[in-house]
Amino acid sequence: MAASTLTIGDWTPSSENGVTVWSSTVTATTADYDLYTKRTPKGLDPHKPWTLVLNSAATSVDGEAVPVDLYIGWVDSCALTLNNAPTITGGVLYKADIMDDVDAVCMAVLMHPSLTVAEDVAAGAAKCYVPVAPYYLINLDGNSALEAVSVTFKIMQ
C-alpha cells in the first residue's frame, strides 16, 4: 500500500425545498484502489434520517463491482488514508458493503438511525441502519486499480 493520490473535495451545501443537499467530488488516479470522502459535514444530524447518493453521474469507476463501506468517526480530525485498505484515524469501519456495487451506476441509500425494516444493500430501495456518530466517511472499496475518474457523492437531509 501507498499514500492515496485522491483529490477529495469538501462537502458543499446547498438548499432545495427545505432540504440541505451536500455534494462532494472525489477524483482518483489509476494509482488508487479505493475512493473515499472526507468526514461528513457538521450540519448533518445523525439522529435523523438522511439519504446518501453515490456516484451521481453514474461514472465507470473500475469496470468491476465496487461495493461501499461505511466508517464512523468520533473526532473532528477523523480521516482515511492510503490508496488501498484504508487506515482510519479517529474512527472505525462500521460496516462493509452497505451497497453492493456502484460501478457505472448512481444509487441512493436511505440512512436511518431507527430503521424499522430490514436493511438492503442492492439498488431498488437500499437501506442502512446507521449508528449515531458525529461523523461518517464513505469508501468505494475497489478490488483493483481504479480508473482516473471523478465521483460525486450527495447527502440530503
Partner: protein, 159 residues
C-alpha cells in the same frame, strides 16, 4: 426510445381544512409506454409523512391485462425531470425504488409515504406504505410494459 408525448400538468395546490392538496394530471398518447409527473412541488415537506393517490379517476390506462406498477424517483435539484417514452432517463436524480405500488392500471392506488415508517412496507391495497428517503423532490412513474391508452391520469398528494 423516443421523446415522450406526455402532457404533464403542474401540481396545483388547494388547502381544504388546512391540509395541502396538490393535484397533477398527465395526459398520455398511444406512443407513450410510461406516465410520469413533474417533480413534486416546493412546499411538500419530505421530513413529514404524506400520502399520494394515483389514478384517482380509476381510468383504464392500458387496455391490456398487464399490471402497471409505480416507480419512485428522487431528485436533488430544480432541474430534476424524466424524459423518454419508455424506461425514462433521469436528470439530477435517481430511481430509488421500483414497484412502490403494484398496479394502477384501472384503479386508484394510494400509498403512505413516510421517512420514519413503523410498519413493514406494502405495495398493494389499503395499507400500502413506502419508506421514503429524504430528498427535495420526488417523481412518480407508471411503468407500463406496453403502449398506453390515450387518456388522463390524475395524481394527488396530501400533506
Amino acid at each position: 426510445m423516443a421523446a415522450s408525448t406526455l402532457v404533464i400538468g403542474d401540481w396545483e395546490n388547494v388547502s381544504p381544512g388546512g391540509e395541502n392538496v396538490w393535484t397533477c394530471t398527465v395526459t398520455a398518447a398511444i406512443t407513450d409506454n410510461d406516465i410520469y409527473t413533474n417533480k413534486t412541488p416546493d412546499g411538500l415537506d419530505p421530513h413529514k409523512p404524506w400520502k399520494v393517490y394515483i389514478n384517482t379517476a380509476n381510468a383504464t390506462l392500458d387496455a391490456t391485462a398487464v399490471a402497471i406498477p409505480v416507480d419512485l424517483y428522487i431528485g436533488w435539484s430544480k432541474d430534476f425531470a424524466l424524459t423518454e417514452t419508455d424506461a425514462p432517463a433521469v436528470t439530477d436524480g435517481v430511481l430509488y425504488k421500483e414497484d412502490i405500488y403494484n398496479d394502477v392500471r384501472t384503479a386508484m392506488g394510494y400509498i403512505q409515504m413516510n421517512p420514519n415508517i413503523q410498519v413493514a412496507e406494502d405495495v398493494s391495497g389499503l395499507g400500502a406504505t413506502c419508506y421514503t428517503p429524504i430528498a427535495p423532490y420526488y417523481i412518480f412513474s407508471l411503468d407500463c410494459a406496453s403502449a398506453l391508452s390515450a387518456g388522463d391520469c390524475t395524481f394527488k398528494i396530501i400533506q
